[in-house]
């Protein structure tokens, strides 16, 4: 990597915030004494993160402003309370993830919103048939989706992640008893990786990949309109759909009124592309996804967990934001 470490402002290069010790401490209290005991303390801990993370506050404020302007809903404009609320929601989300992996949050407690019956396709591919792609997002709780697919259905699910950002949190997951998830670290789509993924699809395995975070070094992005402004989104999921010739489904897991609902929807059925139209096809798929994502943001406005300036071009990110 040519650029100095201190200048890296990409989310993936961002050191996981605060202290691992504090997270570990919080997780331990949650485990030993329960979430109710933790509740007042959680405010203090989250306030520490909130107060010390200027860039995070700025990013959330920006997101809330865009969401409010785009939707025309004035009540969504950022206030101190709503920005703090988003930090709180993230802390809750992390604790829920620990609950999922330790089995405290079970499949029965999660509602399924699946009008097109994507679930039965998931189940079918266990025995025979090809796998498909699930595009997930950092809106809502990623891990509930993953956990439900793995634990509830026993579907072989490969989760593609961008490099080492998962570090500390994976250690916590390990301590919470989770060793099953197959994480595949991806920094770029190379030949060997695509061949491996293609074989997995043929075996009936599914691939989960986030559709809302651009890869390292700003590689392979596409500019889309998201909440009324131009943002960079990854090409990865859409390239994979075209290359592997497999259908794509969207998965969102949102917590509304204290309850999780997993929303499953088919997204790309016709995954063929013409060589000359490839860029245009990727653009169309990415834009359509951004539009779906924007709609889902309105369902759970505080669960947008991308705590970095989202509308900034990845290559031109500078130091000033923090």
């Amino acid at each position: 990597m040519a650029e100095p470490r201190s200048n890296r402002r990409h989310w993936a290069g961002r050191k996981e915030r605060g202290s691992f010790i504090l997270m570990k401490f919080t997780a331990a209290i949650a485990r030993r004494l329960g979430r109710r005991v933790l509740a007042p303390l959680l405010y203090v801990i989250v306030f520490y993160f909130y107060a010390s993370d200027r860039r995070g506050r700025y990013s959330i404020r920006q997101y809330q402003t865009r969401l409010s302007c785009w939707s025309g809903r004035a009540e969504l404009m950022p206030r101190h309370r709503s920005v703090f609320g988003q930090f709180m929601a993230f802390a809750e989300c992390l604790l829920d993830r620990l609950d999922v992996w330790s089995g405290k949050l079970s499949l029965e407690q999660v509602q399924l919103d699946d009008p097109a019956d994507v679930r039965s396709r998931l189940l079918q591919s266990r025995g025979s048939g090809r796998g498909q792609i699930l595009v997930c997002t950092h809106l809502g709780n990623l891990d509930v989706c993953r956990a439900m697919a793995e634990l509830g259905e026993q579907v072989p699910l490969n989760v593609l992640v961008h490099t080492h950002h998962v570090g500390h949190y994976n250690r916590l997951l390990g301590e919470a008893g989770e060793h099953r998830m197959r994480l595949i670290q991806v920094s770029e789509l190379d030949t060997a990786l695509m061949m491996d993924l293609s074989q997995r699809i043929e075996r009936g395995e599914w691939l989960a990949i986030a559709g809302d975070r651009v890869p390292l070094h700003g590689g392979r992005c596409v500019q889309v309109d998201f909440l009324g402004q131009t943002a960079a989104m990854p090409q990865g999921p859409w390239l994979m759909a075209g290359l592997l010739r497999c259908p794509v489904n969207l998965i969102f897991c949102l917590k509304v009124d204290g309850r999780y609902t997993i929303h499953l929807e088919p997204y790309i059925e016709d995954h063929s592309w013409e060589r000359g139209q490839r860029d245009a096809t990727i653009q169309r798929w990415a834009q359509g996804y951004a539009d779906r994502l924007a709609q889902r943001c309105l369902q759970a406005p505080q669960q947008w967990f991308n705590f970095y300036p989202y509308w900034q071009a990845p290559a031109t990110e500078t130091e000033h934001a923090r």
Binding site: D190, T191, M195
Partner: protein, 89 residues
Amino acid sequence: MNDLQKDIAQLIIDTLSLEDIEASEITPALPLFGEGLGLDSIDALELALALQKRYDIQIASDSRDARQHFANVESLAAFVEAQRTACAS
């Protein structure tokens, strides 16, 4: 141009829908990328997947290595041949 080379040239045309050229025009030494046939990195991935299906080959996770195999039809044919021998033995 041997049979395997012809076969691969045809596979390239079919996979990438290059309708305006004939298999015989893709000579063994013609560079597939850049100034030769002008393929890009996504074409390379499409091609790799098609080769994998057709000849059941594997490419180790060393991208520099892969780039050499994909230089032209000749190197691709040699690579497929080598993989077959490795599998047979």
